[in-house]
Each structure stands twice: as structure tokens, then as C-alpha cells.
């Protein structure tokens, strides 16, 4: 039997899900732990500074993080990242619907196997 390492390097997408919403030129993106085991890591590692780095190339001027322990969720409010907003943007995705996936794909983390949902495709790494 092959011994698999107990830790993996995976994108945030492996341990969290989220959703993007827009209001004016502000995007908000939730980051929600699939499993309680992953919540402390998400809370500690997915910081305002790291999220700002992800969105700076799109023009983001500030990022505010709100924490919801009750929902095992973070809510990021990202200013000036929607090219003026849904009715002014030149982007193909004027609402920024895809931005939750930009975030979930851009942040890489070292995680324990038990932080992933059962059956996750990332477990076969």
C-alpha cells in the first residue's frame, strides 16, 4: 500500500466555497469552510493583505474582512475592483460573478487531509 503524505498543497477551492456579489464598484466575496477542521486555517491564512494581493491587478484599492464564526465564513468587501460596476465595466463578466473563483484559485495553502470534504477530487493528488 502506498503511503500518502498527510499534508497537501492545494488551492483554497479544496477546503472552502464562496460566492461573489456586486454593489456598484464593490465586490463582496464569501469564503466558507466546507469542514470545521479547515476553519482555523482559513481564518488565520486568508487575510485582508493576501486577498488584496489577489485583486490588486484588477484595481482593488482596499479590502475589508468580516468574520462570521457562527457560519465558519469570511466575507471580503473589495473596493474598486469592478471597473466602475456592472453598468460601466468593460469586462466580459460585468458583475464579477467569477471573482469568487479567482480568489479560490489564487490562494494556495498547505492543508491536512482531514480538512478536505470526503471524496474531494483534490484527495487523489
Amino acid at each position: 500500500m502506498i503511503e500518502r503524505p498527510n499534508t497537501l498543497r492545494v488551492p483554497l477551492h479544496a477546503i472552502a466555497h464562496g460566492r461573489a456579489g456586486d454593489k456598484g464598484d464593490t465586490s463582496n466575496i464569501s469564503v466558507i469552510a466546507y469542514r470545521a477542521e479547515a476553519w482555523p486555517l482559513i481564518r488565520d491564512e486568508v487575510t485582508e493583505a493576501r486577498v488584496h494581493q489577489v485583486f490588486a491587478p484588477l484595481g482593488a484599492t482596499s479590502v475589508k474582512r468580516y468574520m462570521l464564526e457562527n457560519l465558519r465564513a469570511l466575507n471580503f468587501v473589495i473596493e474598486d475592483t469592478l471597473g466602475g460596476g456592472v453598468n460601466a465595466s468593460l469586462a466580459i463578466d460585468r458583475h464579477g460573478k467569477a471573482l469568487s473563483f479567482r480568489l479560490l484559485g489564487a490562494i494556495e495553502l498547505k492543508v491536512m487531509r482531514d480538512m478536505l470534504p470526503d471524496g474531494s477530487p483534490y484527495l487523489s493528488q
Binding site: H17, D25, N28, S30, I32, P57, K64, L68, L71, G105
Partner: protein
């Protein structure tokens, strides 16, 4: 006193599925009274387009989709006493009410009693120049352009008052989307405006319902990670609310989709900023102590929503003319497609600049991260994409002058014969733009103008 209210959502935006409400109405018909059906169909631009409709024809200006939605349900909602509350009234709720009554006659039904809420259209009472003096929330630079619509977000109180007339159908223009739900709750449970926790709980119930299937597995499915059964037939959300402010969300039996802690968590945070202060006219809603409990298959009970003092100012959306947006696309495929697609974009950019068109241009490589990078080509090229493959270059530009905007389209199209090898599949669009911004307006400027009218059959 009523001890439970059943409410469902039939549409979450103006382009939503027309028949989604049919299973919702069936579900509601099987519940005890009182029962309500909401349709949320009024985006920021949608209302401005409706204003233009009304300016051309005073009998129009309600949602052009009103008939498409209601013709499928009106017979059953009237037969079962399911009251409809919707912003399908758009820029002209009174004309919308007459259209509902005409539709009923066409369907062989007794025309319903319809009440409308008026007073959201700020241009009825305030000059455009005065609107420009109020504090601006966003879109500040735009607000000096030609205004096409200015509507303030009314709250749930006028919706409640419209229901008190005994109307079968209530049509509003611009209210908060959540007011479509909070209004019925205030009406049925006798909640008062100073019960802030209740105002907040009803708002969060409305917030969860008003985007339709976004709470029941849509805008959620991610195969292999978040699997959703039968999304093709996703059930739209329904809620059972209690007088204490708690409520349980679910979906009609026999429909696809899923309702879980995960779907509700994603949707409750959708378009929310500070979770301790989600602002609506009635309260600052606080979900930081809220609990979500899975109380059955596809059932989540929501408790512990708190309300804090309501905001002093109301939010209004201003819609302005914003020129023309040109978009054009061309595809490159096979060996070295990435370089050919990039070259195509650079050629057009060069030629636009040479013609003095210095407006911002988006250059996307579809297939390389256009959705992630939002026109920032350097970001896409920095991703280390495969040289071979299938890339579609997309360009976009906004200009006040239609002909100037169209130059972008002409320049990309010219690459059929004058560009890199193998470019094909040119498509383009040139669309009039209505941009939006927001202002804050004192209640005293708004509240005296709010009124409810009953449109008799």
C-alpha cells in the same frame, strides 16, 4: 393571530425562468393561509429602461415580462388565495395593475383587486440639479451626466399598507427587494417598526428568497465539489415564517436543487457588506449571532437575527446615459494560437491609439482567463498559458459617440483579411449604455410622497 406565514419566490431577476413559480404555487396551495408569492424582477438598469418605455407610452413602463410570469399562475393564485407581491410594477405600477386585470379577463378570470405603491420616483418632486447635491455613495463621476431615472429604495411599510387594502396583488416600483417579504410579515404578524429584531429577521428572510434559486442550489453547483441534484429543474425557494422572527427555508417537493447550511450561508452573504449592519430602511440587520439548523431534508431553520437602529438616510439609484459600448471577438485555434490572438489584440489597440481613441480598452483572451482578469491582458499572459489551443480575443470600449465606439468593431473585423493567420468567427455588438450611481437622501424628502392606491377592476 396568525402563527405561520408561507411565502415563496417565483423569480429572482427580470430574465429568470418564467415557469419556475408553478411548483411554488402548487406548494403554497397545499399550505394553510396566509400565503404569498413574490417576484423580484427589477434590476437597476431594468427600471431605467422601464422609465424610457413610460416616457414613450404612458400606458407602459411596467415590466415587459409581467404577462409572461403571471399568465402561468394567476388562475391558481386567485383560486387559492395566494397573494402576489412584486416589483413588476417597475416605472408604472398603475399601468401594471391594469395589465394584470386585463390579463385576468383574457384568462377568463374575475379581475383581481390590485394595490400599488407609489413615491419612489424622485424626479416627480426633486429637480435633477438638486439630486446631484446629495451625498454620493458610488458612481460619483457619472452623476453629472444626463439623468434618465432616479428612484429611492422604499421599505416594507408601504408594502404592508398596500396589503391592508385587501388587495390580491400588490405591485411596487423601487423598494428594497427584501421588502417584498418583510411587508407581508408585518401585515400578517402585526409587527411594528420599532421591533428591530423582527424587522431584521424579516429582511434576512426576504434577502434569502429574493434571488430565487440562488438559495436552492443554483449559483452554487460545482460538480465534484458541490453537487446539486437535477439543477435543470431546480425548485425555487419557499419559507415558513413564525411571529417570533424565526423562519424555515425549503423548496417545493418533487423539484431539483438542494437547501442546506452551505446554500443558505452563500446566499445570506451575497451582496452583503458588514454582516453586523446590512442596511435597509427598517433596520441595520445583524447576522453575526444567527444560527442555521438543518431541520429536515432540504430544510434550514434560521434564528437569532438581530436588528439595530435604522439608517437616517435612504439610498437612491440614479441612472445616467453613458454612451455606447462596442464589443468584438475573433478566434484563433491550433498551434501557436496564443501568440496569434495576442497579436490581433495588439494590432487593434495600436490602430485605435493612432486614431486618437485614447479611452480605456479591455483586451481579453477568452480561454486564457478573461473571466478572471477582466480585460487586464498582462495578468492573463502572466499565467503561463499553453501556446497551442483555442483562444478568442475580445475587445471592448465605451465612447459617448456611437460611430467612434464602432471603430473598435471595424478594426477587429478588418483582421479577417489584414490580421494574423487563421482568425475566424468574428462577432460584435454595439449597445447603448445606462450607467448607475447611488446617493443618500433624507427620509423627510421621501416619506411624505409615499402613497398606496387601489386600482379597482
Amino acid at each position: 393571530m396568525t402563527n405561520a406565514l408561507h411565502i415563496g419566490c417565483g423569480a429572482g431577476f427580470a430574465g429568470d425562468r418564467y415557469d419556475a413559480a408553478v411548483p411554488v404555487v402548487r406548494h403554497l396551495s397545499e399550505q394553510d393561509d396566509p400565503r404569498y408569492l413574490i417576484y423580484e424582477c427589477l434590476g437597476e438598469r431594468t427600471l431605467a429602461l422601464a422609465q424610457l418605455d413610460r416616457s414613450r407610452d404612458p400606458e407602459r413602463g411596467y415590466s415587459p415580462f409581467l404577462g409572461r410570469y403571471l399568465e402561468l399562475v394567476l388562475k391558481d393564485t386567485l383560486a387559492h388565495g395566494v397573494r402576489i407581491v412584486s416589483n413588476l410594477g417597475a416605472a408604472n405600477p398603475v399601468a401594471g395593475a391594469r395589465r394584470v386585470q386585463a390579463l385576468a379577463r383574457e384568462l377568463g378570470l374575475t379581475p383581481p383587486r390590485v394595490a400599488v405603491v407609489l413615491g419612489d420616483d424622485l424626479r416627480e418632486t426633486i429637480q435633477d440639479d438638486t439630486l446631484r447635491t446629495y451625498p454620493r455613495l458610488d458612481g460619483a463621476a457619472l452623476l453629472d451626466r444626463q439623468i434618465t431615472a432616479a428612484n429611492v429604495y422604499l421599505g416594507a411599510v408601504p408594502v404592508r399598507d398596500a396589503l391592508a387594502t385587501g388587495a390580491d396583488v400588490v405591485l411596487v416600483g423601487r423598494t428594497t427587494d427584501s421588502a417584498l417579504v418583510l411587508g407581508p410579515l408585518m401585515h400578517e404578524f402585526g409587527w411594528d417598526e420599532d421591533q428591530l429584531d423582527h424587522m431584521a429577521a424579516g429582511t434576512i428572510c426576504g434577502h434569502l428568497l429574493e434571488c430565487g434559486a440562488q438559495m436552492t442550489g443554483a449559483y452554487f453547483a460545482d460538480p465534484g465539489f458541490k453537487d446539486v441534484p437535477d439543477l435543470a429543474h431546480v425548485g425555487f425557494p419557499v419559507a415558513e415564517a413564525a411571529p417570533d422572527g424565526s423562519f424555515t427555508v425549503s423548496k417545493p417537493s418533487g423539484t431539483g436543487g438542494v437547501v442546506s447550511r452551505a446554500t443558505v450561508t452563500e446566499q445570506v452573504l451575497y451582496e452583503m457588506h458588514d454582516p453586523a449592519a446590512y442596511l435597509v430602511p427598517e433596520a441595520a440587520c445583524d447576522i453575526t449571532q444567527m444560527t442555521l439548523t438543518e431541520t429536515g431534508p432540504d430544510r434550514v431553520t434560521v434564528e437569532g437575527v438581530r436588528g439595530h437602529a435604522r439608517p437616517e438616510m435612504l439610498k437612491a439609484t440614479i441612472c445616467v446615459e453613458n454612451g455606447w459600448m462596442a464589443e468584438a471577438e475573433l478566434s484563433y485555434s491550433g498551434p501557436n494560437a496564443l501568440a496569434r490572438a495576442e497579436l490581433a489584440g495588439r494590432i487593434v489597440e495600436t490602430r485605435l491609439r493612432e486614431q486618437g481613441l485614447n479611452a480605456p480598452i479591455a483586451i481579453d483572451l477568452i480561454g486564457g482567463g478573461a473571466g478572471l482578469d477582466r480585460g487586464n491582458l498582462a495578468e492573463t499572459l502572466g499565467r503561463g498559458l499553453p501556446a497551442d489551443g483555442d483562444y478568442r480575443v475580445r475587445l471592448a470600449m465605451i465612447r459617448d459617440d456611437k460611430a467612434q465606439a464602432n471603430v473598435l468593431i471595424e478594426e477587429l473585423q478588418a483582421l479577417y483579411c489584414s490580421g494574423p493567420a487563421g482568425g475566424g468567427g468574428f462577432r460584435s455588438s454595439l449597445t447603448a449604455q445606462l450607467a448607475t450611481g447611488s446617493i443618500l437622501i433624507p427620509r423627510a424628502e421621501v416619506e411624505p410622497n409615499i402613497r398606496v392606491e387601489v386600482v379597482s377592476p
